[in-house]
Subunit: 283 residues, 2 copies
């Protein structure tokens, strides 16, 4: 059992704050330093005791053993070279939702080995330090990317974090990761945003929507509450894969439209039966 | 407090079975007669004690005070005239998810007043008698359509059922109902079916989807487990409204695709912020 360490968390929002809660609870983190360009978020994180102190990036990295980057993915890409410039024996885990461009940006950095590219497949539609909750990660999957590029001790510490959080660690290369997340996460968010816009656009009597909204509607549109500041950078960084999946999704919807138009209900029935096969890959 | 009555439930699936559970539990139904063209479902419903006896339609209607039609909406339309032919002082509640064509089909029936058009905004993605659960309706909305066409005593009994189930009763005309449900229910199902097809189409390594599937994906694709036998008739009966909403939804998705294509991230940010307004009309 190692002694408690100091953890620097850059971005004290839903992910960073929830990590702070869990790593303290598991007696892994002895001291948590928060870094955030948003002063109000830092104050809230201190008030909620998610973090023990606030500091600027340089000071936080110097004091910490583990540095966690939990900010929008474009912001991670922007500061990651600087963070790696600052580290000596620290371990850096980025929580970015896309990996290919992020890892390209530091591929030749002399301290690349200190970075362990990590993507916890967990979240809610809420954001900010107030949204941080215990057990956000329990039972979820942690994807580690291109781990052969990480130093052995760095990866061991990161895997230890995943275990402590109660997560299942899986491994992918960055390219593969970005394709898979486009399917299982990014497209679901785009669909939800578009569905919300559809309803808001066409429906005038909003009280009526509220009265009628069924459980199915709520679960499908829930993701449309998600933060634009987080998601636009994801779509930007994973633009090629997202466009590819989105094009296929539009094609599937257009097919359903066309089938309805010509009243070919046998084909519609077959399409739904085929889509039911998703059961196999869901709980 | 009225004495317990005999209820005939045509279609002993998710909705019919769950109604049977709740109406017995609330001491409203003293005896429940099941009618179903599927003999296996009837046997399961008897085994699960959802129903007390099985009977054919004519016998069941004759014995009952309340007749509930909980079968796919095209099947309701097909048998509703015959059911109304059979009733004297019985009350008929159909559970159809679309109403305009259904009510047109019996508009001039001499016993039209015995029918109370009812749509419980409740369900799960599962079907069949095994899917029946207690409290499926609690806290949900019951939409009554064109109630001025129902006899006063018939409507009172139906409203009593809604109250007993712990539902909030609201009132709409059939045309309005079908437009609203296209937005808050039917389109969410189409989106979910299409999303499942997109993933199944493009993703080859299915083990990977399962490992990666996040909570967001699961909630968005959950509806794609829904029954084709139930949903094709809904899309058929509400074809015009569903096509209208689907067209708008495809337009919204295409707009997002176009914005990504030209890398206009400011517009994408604005679209997401706009879609976030759905918060106002969700819990």
């Amino acid at each position: 059992m190692q002694s408690k360490i100091t953890v620097a968390i850059v971005g004290v929002g839903l992910i960073g704050g929830s990590l702070a809660i869990s790593l303290k609870e598991k007696k892994f983190a002895g001291h948590v330093i928060g870094v955030d360009k948003n002063a109000a978020n830092l104050k809230t994180a201190l008030d909620l005791k998610l973090i023990d102190e606030q500091a600027d990036l340089e000071e936080a990295v110097k004091k910490a053993k583990l540095v966690i980057l939990a900010i929008p993915v474009d912001a991670i890409i922007a500061i990651l070279p600087k963070v790696l410039d600052l580290v000596t024996d620290q371990v850096v885990m980025d929580m970015g939702s896309t990996k290919e461009k992020l890892l390209e940006a530091v591929a030749n950095h002399p301290n690349r080995g200190r970075l362990v590219a990590s993507h916890p497949m967990a979240g809610t539609e809420y954001s900010g330090p107030e949204a941080a909750i215990p057990n956000l990660f329990t039972g979820r999957t942690m994807v580690f990317c291109d781990v052969t590029q990480s130093d052995e001790d760095a990866f061991e510490l990161a895997e230890n974090v995943s275990d402590l959080l109660g997560m299942k660690s899986i491994f992918m290369n960055a390219k593969e990761h970005d394709i898979h997340t486009a399917y299982v996460s990014h497209i679901a968010h785009i669909t939800s945003f578009a569905l919300a816009l559809t309803v808001l656009e066409k429906e005038k009597s909003q009280g009526r929507i509220f009265e009628l909204a069924s459980a199915g509607f709520e679960s499908t549109v829930r993701l449309a509450k998600s933060s634009a500041d987080m998601w636009v950078p994801i779509f930007k960084q994973n633009r090629h894969n997202v466009m590819d999946v989105l094009q296929e999704h539009i094609r599937q919807l257009q097919q359903m439209y066309d089938v309805l138009k010509v009243e070919d209900y046998d084909t519609f029935h077959k399409l739904i039966k085929k889509s039911n096969k998703i059961k196999r890959i869901l709980k």
